[in-house]
């Protein structure tokens, strides 16, 4: 304990950690009208962090190949120590994250917190909702089960209702006329890099803007 304290003091002398920690964490007061419902946004972010961690672990064994995807997920669930838990947390965590994002947005909408000067908070939040849904949807195909295959088929059929360009959107998303190994590779890349990367950028905007305007207080 004394050792840790002296290490911290050494770093603190050089990098001025304490003012930073006090300003942002230990002495950052929030409005006392903020109840438990004010936690939903932060909890959604916590779920994102959990998804990143469990996702990195699953990447060690997952193979984005139609011939091996299902086997690799089964291998994780039955042979890897604690693999069943990590895989379940990742799958259920996606559902929980969507629920939390929706509860967060419902509260913001109900209390009309989206009004000036917080319009961009709401808009970036809507983008984050879409990205969350996109990550959940692309992840759903990856185990390559019957359910995920037909789930992806049905969902990529929906854009065909759009006149003129709908068909092209569907073919683009499937990388061809049907769900295939090409779709799996595309969804995999979207799932592990493109969508989470975009989510990190928009979360950065979201959090920075909240820091700037402060947390909303009732009138």
């Amino acid at each position: 304990m004394a050792l840790l304290r002296s290490i911290y003091r050494g770093l603190d002398d050089r990098y001025q950690l304490t003012p930073f920690v006090e300003k942002n964490i230990t002495r950052k007061w929030v409005p006392r009208t903020l109840g438990w419902a004010g936690c939903f946004g932060g909890l959604a972010f916590l779920l994102f962090v959990i998804q990143v961690y469990t996702g990195i672990l699953l990447l060690i064994y997952y193979k984005p190949d139609p011939a091996r995807a299902w086997d690799s997920v089964t291998f994780i669930k039955s042979n890897v120590p604690m693999g069943w838990l990590i895989q379940r947390v990742h799958a259920v965590g996606a559902d929980v994250m969507i629920v939390l994002v929706l509860m967060h947005m419902a509260r913001i909408a109900y209390y009309k917190i989206y009004r000036s000067p917080r319009e961009l908070h709401w808009l970036s939040g809507v983008v984050l909702l879409s990205l969350t849904a996109g990550m959940a949807f692309t992840g759903y195909l990856l185990p390559w089960t019957n359910l995920s295959y037909w789930g992806a088929s049905v969902a990529t059929e929906i854009p065909t209702a759009i006149p003129v360009i709908g068909e092209q959107i569907s073919i683009w998303a499937r990388r061809g006329p049907n769900i295939s190994g090409e779709t799996l590779g595309f969804f995999f890349a979207m799932h592990i890099w493109v969508l989470p990367g975009a989510a990190v950028i928009f979360m950065g905007m979201h959090f920075t803007m909240i820091r700037r305007t402060g947390i909303s207080k009732p009138l």
Binding site: P31, R32, L57, F75, N79, V80, P81, M82, G83, I86
Partner: protein, 170 residues
């Protein structure tokens, strides 16, 4: 209590709420502080263990990763002057058929652990990493190595060549 609004609730900006000035520093206060420290610290340690254990456990080797089978070769697969490669208990094993003999070696180079190659032109082994050269008995003739390739025992039963080797590292 500090500033109080008309509705009886303390002002939201009152940071000192709940701490009466005369109680701070009293024995009860320091006992409470200690209790909170232990409770929060204990919860943090238990939570960290609950989160950390599955992550560390996940990184252990899984059951049955990679084949650990014993190597068997049908004799008719062996061609004179050429090598037959296989895996035995996770080791790369090479069987070479010569004019009047069949020999099996652990294919791992004793220099720095690369897998050697059989060169049918020179009837010897060569390591691709640092150009170690071995003859058809596995003895070193050139390159950075002065140890032979490890000979591996085998038996022939019912036209099958069966490797008999405990495996493990050289």
């Amino acid at each position: 209590m500090g500033n109080t609004k008309a509705n009886g609730r303390p002002d939201m900006n009152d940071a000192n709420d709940g701490h009466d000035a005369d109680r701070v520093g009293s024995p009860t206060d320091s006992y409470r502080r200690r209790f909170c420290q232990v409770a929060i610290g204990g919860t943090a340690v238990v939570s960290a263990a609950a989160v950390g254990y599955p992550i560390v456990a996940f990184l252990r080797l899984p059951k049955s990763l990679g084949p650990m089978e014993l190597m068997e070769v049908p004799l008719e697969e062996l061609v004179e002057g050429y090598a037959y490669w296989g895996e035995h208990r996770g080791r790369q094993i090479v069987v070479v058929k010569l004019k009047d003999d069949i020999r099996a070696f652990d294919g791992t180079c004793p220099h720095l652990g690369c897998i050697v190659q059989w060169e049918s032109a020179s009837q010897g082994f060569k390591c691709p990493c640092h150009n170690a050269v071995f003859d058809d008995l596995g003895n070193p003739i050139a390159g950075p190595v002065n140890m032979p390739l490890r000979r591996v025992e085998f038996v022939v039963e019912e036209n099958m060549l069966k490797i008999r080797d405990p495996g493990g590292r050289v």
